[in-house]
């Protein structure tokens, strides 16, 4: 069974890139906004969420907060996929509750694969 991933990303290029990288392995469903993502995730119950942080309107941290606040979805692995990659950002997002963090640009796709694989194990 191919694991199902939800990709929350407002940038079409990035969505395309992620698909190019992951379509071989995962079934990736795109959401362009936080609101759409929350609704879709609640409905489809994916195995993992790749969540961009800088989203229009409802941003990634808020989406995460709401997911964590949802009793059903609270345990869902959420990996931050973000261009906020300045010193300390990783720690910041981990501290916010993301299960993992992958900085954009994705210099090495293996980092992405590893991060996803780590949280799909169980």
């Amino acid at each position: 069974v191919t694991p199902r991933l939800a990709l929350v990303e407002d940038n079409a290029d990035n969505r395309l890139l992620v698909h190019a990288l992951l379509d071989d392995r995962y079934a990736v469903t795109d959401y362009e906004t936080g609101a759409a993502a929350l609704a879709g995730i609640a409905a489809s119950r994916p195995d993992l969420v790749l969540l961009d942080v800088s989203l229009p309107e409802l941003d990634g941290t808020e989406v995460l907060r709401r997911l964590r606040a949802d009793q059903v979805l609270a345990g869902l692995p959420v990996v931050a996929l973000t261009a906020h990659a300045m010193a300390g950002d990783r720690e910041k997002y981990i501290a916010l509750g993301f299960d993992d963090y992958v900085a954009k640009p994705i210099v090495d796709e293996q980092l992405l694969f590893d991060a996803i694989a780590r949280h799909l194990g169980g």
């Binding site: 940038n11 290029d13 990035n14 395309l16 300045m86 010193a87 954009k104 640009p105 210099v107 796709e109």
Partner: protein, 994 residues
Amino acid sequence: MLTPRQKTNAGFTVALLAFLVIGAASYAFIDRLVGVSVAVGRLGEVNAALDGLTGRIAEAEARSRAYVLTGDVRQLALHRSIVEQLPGALQRLDSAVADDPARAALARRLGPFLQRRIAHFAATLAAREGGARGPEIAGLVAEGVALTDSLRAVTRLLAVSRERQLGARIAESEIRYGWAPEVILIATLAGLVIVVLAMVAVNRDFAARARAAAALREAEERSRVVFNTVVDGIIAIDEHGVIEAMNPAAERLFGWREAEARGRNVSVLMPEPIAAEHGGYLARYLATGDAHVIGRTREVAGLRRDGTSFTMELALGEVRLEGRRLFTGIVRDVSERRALEAGLRGSEERYRAVVEGLGEGVFVQEASGNIVEANAAAQRILGVSREELVGRHMSEAPWRTLREDGSPLPPEERPATVCLRTGKPVRNAVIGALRPDGRLAWLLVNVRPMTWAPDGSPAAVVSSFADISRRKEAEVAVRENQARLQDFLDAAHDLIVSTGTDGRLQYVNRAWEAALGIRAVDALGRNLFEFLEPACHDRIRAAFRRVVAGETVGDLEATFLAHDGRRVTVLGSSNCRFEEGRPVATRSVFRDVSEIARTQEALKRARDEAERANRAKSAFLANMSHELRTPLNSVIGFAGVLLKNRAGNLRPEDTEFLSRINENGKHLLGLINSILDLSKVEAGKVEVEIGVVELPRVVDEALALVAGQGRPGVRVASEVPASLAPVAGDAGKLKQVVVNLLGNALKFTEAGSVTVRVAADPATGEPLCLEVRDTGIGIPADRQAAIFEAFQQADTSTARRFGGTGLGLTISKTLVELMGYRLEVESEEGRGSVFRVVFRAVSGVPAAAAPAEAPQGAEQEDADLRGGLVLVIDDDADARELLSRQIADLGPRTITAASGGEGLRLARTERPDVVTVDLLMPGLTGWDVVRTMRADPDLRDIPAVVVSVVARERGATVPGAADLLNKPVDREELLTALRRHLRGAARRRAAREK
């Protein structure tokens, strides 16, 4: 010169000679005359003798013839008596011609003729008597007549001669008689002269004798008067000691009448045992001539007739008079004088004792300048011996004199000299005496004349002086103290105000005058509240009441109104001075905080502004980072996807191009990351979180991160001691640095090795440094400093050859320094480089090089440091953090407090070994903190180190500060201060543990 006696003798001698000459001359002359006269007389005599002889012969002839003729017997008797006279007559003739030899011879021839005639007479007469007559007789007669004729012839001869002689004599006499008047005149004149001279001489002699006699009488009279009236008793005794005379004074003295005493032994005037011994003395003297008592004045005891004895002065004299020896004694009753002298001596001794005992120095100086007397205090005060004072001239004095102002005092201005010169007392002169031992004694001198010379000038002056050095020193000390306090007050920037309890200003300092533009003279006496802004009156009044009640009110804020209406806001404290429990005056010290308040306001605005700008900058950076990365994500990502060439339809050059895109995208990303990092660092937005860092782990992780970056054949090694103490730092940042250094080393090393090494103190395992050593291309010496600057690589060609952003070292250095450490480089071109993170320097020697040689003392000190706990009090977060890290870097643990209040609280709970405190803090200032600590028995022992931007300028105003350090803090100064205070703290700890 001849004496009168000699003159007289000479006169008499001359007179005598004159008389001799005249006498001799007269004698000779008269002798001649007498000679002539005698000769004439003798001629008469001869003639008379001749006549007597011839007459008698003729008589005898006549008588004889008459008898012959007559026979008358009477004729015969006559004849015989005449014949008997004939020898006598012849005799007389002889004697008359004795002086004429010729006639004497004739006269002698006459004798025999006369004898024969006389015999013939006898024969004729005898014949007649026999009866012959006539012829026979006639014959005889005729014969007789013939004889007589012969006689006559001879006598005639004699007479002729006589007449001739007589004529010559008379002629001679006539000549002499001619001379006689002159001779007699001359002789008479000479006699007159001599008589006159003799008269003169004799008269003069008589006058002299008369004068001498008069003088003798006068002297006698005088002696008598003296003898009788002299106050001294005079007693004369003979050689047996018997009194011969006593004068009235002696009578009075001994109570004896002279008449009664005369004839008694002088021993009655002597008490026993002298009386008994006196005879012996006298006898011995007379026997031996041992005259030691003669001519000397002695003091002996005398005895009055009433039996009382007394002390007398006795002078003995000896007189030899007409073969007798007399002794005179002159005695004077000195009992009273002795008693008086004894009294005087006692008085003088008392006086001397008083003078000697005086605390004041006293000395007496004569007009000559000689010091004749000096007491013990004088010697003590001047630091000289009596020998150096007494008998010395003032100019020899071994001390030098100074005026009160310290300038030399010339000898002629010394008080004693002045007094001697002017005759006026000198009162309360203050002079300095520089003693022989170098000490300066200040003297209060009084001098007054003591005795006077006949001309009215002082003969001697007495100086008394007290050593007022202590007083003088105290005066100087008080003066200096006052001057010092005044200087402090004048120099203080704080406003210092004192009021009475009624609020009237008693004192304001210059700072107050300057701050308010009001002169003290215009303010003093007026009420403090006249100068305060009405709005603060109630508050100040309340505070004033508390102060007057005895409370010290701190943090007192007030607002003065300046001369020009400016408001001067001050902050300070106030207390009150009490005397005998009553409030006397308030003391207030205010700081003009108007400026500080204004500055703080401006600072706050600036800070807010800066923070706003900073926030904006941070946001901008974050956005830019985000926005730059987003497109790069596509560039790198898609290039990567394409590079996989899943479709297998790419030509090799296409994959090469894609690879270029991918690599450059990554490089661009690296640049962006570094730039953003650097921006953040330089904006101060990088925060290092100091924690415990395990270096082995950091090294391992860093090595893992760079694994595979090196060229083939370049060996990567690590030398990390097994037991290593942790260091303080930010693990992530430190790893970033190590990765960076390793990356650089690998990048620039084409062959050889890259080694990570940690050096540690072998004793404690404490890391000293971490170094990354390579055998790469090295860095030229002149570029070694520049490589830490942004975008500076050693060579522009390097970038092309080795790549890299040129920002890594800049960021690394900044991060290392943020952690309080140091990043240094050693390099030799072509041989390799060493980049070293120095955690702790050891005595200036590079830490890695000689940890083992670290001196024991330093280790001990560092042990002290490590054991210490330092409380850092500073309101400024950055300053606090920085100082805390600097201190921690040196070894001690630190805790921090953001305000004075918090600091004091922490100090009480945590008991740090040292407190550092900022001065300028809102609320409780550094001054307050230190003062509170010093007043708190629990905190009193904790050294308070003032660390402030104004520590140097204002530090002196913090009593009780253990040390003063200026911000920014010099590492060495900090180390020195901490060592000093922590060593003490370590000792205190050790003492407590015991």
